[in-house]
Structure formats: structure tokens, C-alpha cells
């Protein structure tokens, strides 16, 4: 089962990485695509906060490039 999942996730990853190995200087005025809402690290702060909360209360792992908020006694 895990092989199938990992396999399915590898395809788009490989696609991305083959494209992103090209490292090119980007001028300040050429960042229009990078500034698109859907390109943000967190394009949907409300949804992201909700999901972090759910995952936090169901899984052992937590943490990342955001601060932890206050605690909860959630299930």
C-alpha cells in the first residue's frame, strides 16, 4: 500500500524537480509569477491554521516554518 502511495506522489515531484534545477537570477521586476496568491508558501492562512490544528491533535509530529500557538486539550 505504502509503495503505491509513494509511487503516486513521486511522479509530480520528479516533474517539478526536473524543472527547478535550472537556477537563474531573477530581477526584482520579474517576480510577478512568484507574487501570485497561489504561489505563496501559505496561500490560505485560515485553512492552513485549521489543518495544522487537526493534524496536531491526531498525530505525534508537529512543527515547521511557523510558530506554535497556544495549547489545546483537543482529541
Amino acid at each position: 500500500m505504502k509503495r503505491t502511495i509513494l509511487g503516486a506522489m513521486t511522479v509530480p515531484l520528479a516533474l517539478v524537480c526536473s524543472a527547478c534545477v535550472t537556477i537563474e537570477p531573477v530581477q526584482p521586476w520579474q517576480r510577478g509569477d512568484l507574487a501570485r496568491a497561489e504561489m505563496a508558501f501559505e496561500p490560505d492562512p485560515v485553512q492552513a491554521a485549521y489543518r495544522r490544528h487537526v493534524e496536531f491533535s491526531k498525530e505525534a509530529a508537529s512543527g515547521g516554518a511557523t510558530l506554535s500557538g497556544g495549547g489545546c486539550g483537543c482529541n
Binding site: T22, V26, K58, A61, S68, G69
Partner: protein, 401 residues
Amino acid sequence: MKNDERRTRPAAAGPSLSALTAAALALPGLAQAQVETDLLYSRYEEADLPGSREANGQDSERYEIDTYLFRLAAPLGDQAFVANVTYETLSGASPWYVQPRQPGVDDTPVQVMSGASIREQRTDVQLSWALPLAGIDWGVTLGYSTEDDYRATSGGIEFEYTPQGVAHTISGGIGYSYDKIEPERGASSPDVIAEADKDSLSAFAGVSWVLNAKTVLQTAISYGLHDGFLSDPYKRAYVADGPTLVADSRPGEREQFTVSARLRRYLSGIGAALHADYRFYRDDWDIEAHTLELAWHQMLAESWRLTPSLRWYSQSQASFYAPYYQSLRSDGLASSDYRLSPYGAVAVRVDLRKALPGDWEIGGGAEWYEADGSYAIDTVEVENPGLVEFLILNLRLGKRF
């Protein structure tokens, strides 16, 4: 929630500075052009625990949560103010302890659920203020969360800095939370502790790189330190050689580390953005976890955005965890919480959003999540019977001024 399990760890629910900044990174400033308001309603429903996994052989209902999230983000000149308010009502039963199906005859672990369902509420308020100072963007956040038996007060400072003329942004933050629990007595918890507390410290540091005009990458490390009462006062562990049931008991300290990467790639030909996130987690309870998440943000006809995503998670068990114990451990630790057990999980999600005239936005989405031993990286020999499966449906409304 008198009869129910409680959880005593800090929630990663705080608003982040990256959500305040205009966009990805290495882009100008905190300033945002408009006041943004968002309302999200989420319905969370756990699947019934099948009778085959339960000690009494009967299907059992689990948790249901209705959540309302409200977010206001307002520019104040060069500064920004953000408020996040969460209100949720929770009801249902949850795992209490795990025992062998028929001690001495059938060793298969089966779940015993907590008693009758009780309704509870949680309110969480997070206030953030973002401001530029000395060429660096700063964010200050204060938070307060309250439930019938649990209160958390938290605060944190974050920063983002983009040196001029370079293609990377440096970010970091440090946060603190004081949590206090005053468990309530019930049928499943007659001898529960009166009160307990803990301190939590968290910190992260990251660098975001502009790889090319369509690709950005963020790498980060984070650290968490929890000190105090980290057990679950409502849970029990089963010990075959007696005393039969003991209180859930975990170490009084926990150190957590993560290394993570987030990649964003814009595919201009088809008007889509691909997101790939990976996180490696490790703590000093010996748990290691991997999280991989892929999301595809597809713009459709200017005003629609369709986002399917797939998430995979795998964790190993805590050193002191067991579904149940033959005899008490010499260090006295005991926990049968499925969240400390070895398992994997898969989530499939889809979100749809539509921009409307007058700067309105509506949307909705669904998520199905299933935890299972077979999804884990390593072979799970004995699966915890309390692993969860749930469905989330949400609706949202947004307005820009």
C-alpha cells in the same frame, strides 16, 4: 468532556508571519492593499470504530467537531493587524484504553472507549501585529485558548529579512506557551489528577530561495521543548500482570526537531501552481515521522481556483508506548494512545474557490483522512485498534474591502 481523553501539547494553530506578508518571498514588504475578512465553517466527523476493534464487539461513534474560524487582516499604513478567532463545539466518545480481546486466550488488542458523549466548547483568539523596523519585517502574536478544563496563553515574535540585491529571504521566530489543565472527574476518570501545567518553547529558522522566475524553495528547521505534565489525564493503560489499569504516564519533558522544505512552482502554460512540502520530524521519545504533501492550485476561467491535494504521513512509535503491557515498565511510563503508536496516514483533499464581483469570494472543500498501519514506512506488527478515520467538509466566505 468529563469522561474523555485530553491532550496536553501546544497546538500549531497560530497565525504566521508568512501569512501576513504580501506573497512568497524576496518580494517587497508587509504592506497589503486591502482589508481581508474570511469566515470558514468546518464539519469534522470521525468514522465509527468498528465492533471488530472494540472490546465490547459493538460499533462505536467517535468525535464530531463543528468549527468556525474568523480571520481579519487589516493594513495600517506600513503595518498590519491580524485577528484569528476560532470557536468550536466537540462531542462524542474517544479511546480510553486498549486490552487483549480475551486475556490469555486471544492477545489481539481491542479498544475500550470512554463513557457517554459530552459536549464541549473551545474558543481561541490570536492577535498579530506586523511592522517594519530597521529594514526587517517583524510580527508579534499573542494568543489565548480556553476550554472547560484547559487554558493556554501564548506569545511569539517572528521576523523576515530580505537583504537587498539577493535572491533569498531569512525568517525565524520564537514562541512560548503556558498551558494549564484542570481535568473533570467522570465515570472513566474517577481518580483523575486535580490540576497540572506545562511550559512550551518553540523556535524556527528558515531560508527561502528564488530559484528562478517561477520557482521558490523554503528550507527550515524547528525546535520544540515541552516541560511539565505531558500525559493524558483521561487515558489509561492496561497491564496484564496487574494492577490492571494504570494512568497514562509520559515523561515530563519532550524535545522535538524538524527539518522541512516547501517548494512552489508556477506552470504558466496551464495557469497552475504546484506545491510540494516535506517534513522530517524527530523527538526524544524516539518518534520519527515523515510528512509529504502535494497540492495542485489550478486557476480556471480567471475567477475559479480548484485545489486537489494529497498528503501522506508516517510515524514510528514512542519508546514507552505499547498497545497494552504484560507487566509495568521499570520507569513507570505507560501509554496506549494511538497517537504515540506506529502508523501511517493518507489524506485526500479538494478545495474549490470562486471570486465574485464586489471582492467577494465563496468556496468549499472536502477532506478524507485515514490512519492505518499499512500506510507506515516501517512494517507495523501490532496496529493500535484506535486509529482514526475522518471526513471534513467545509464552507467559506471571504470579502475584501
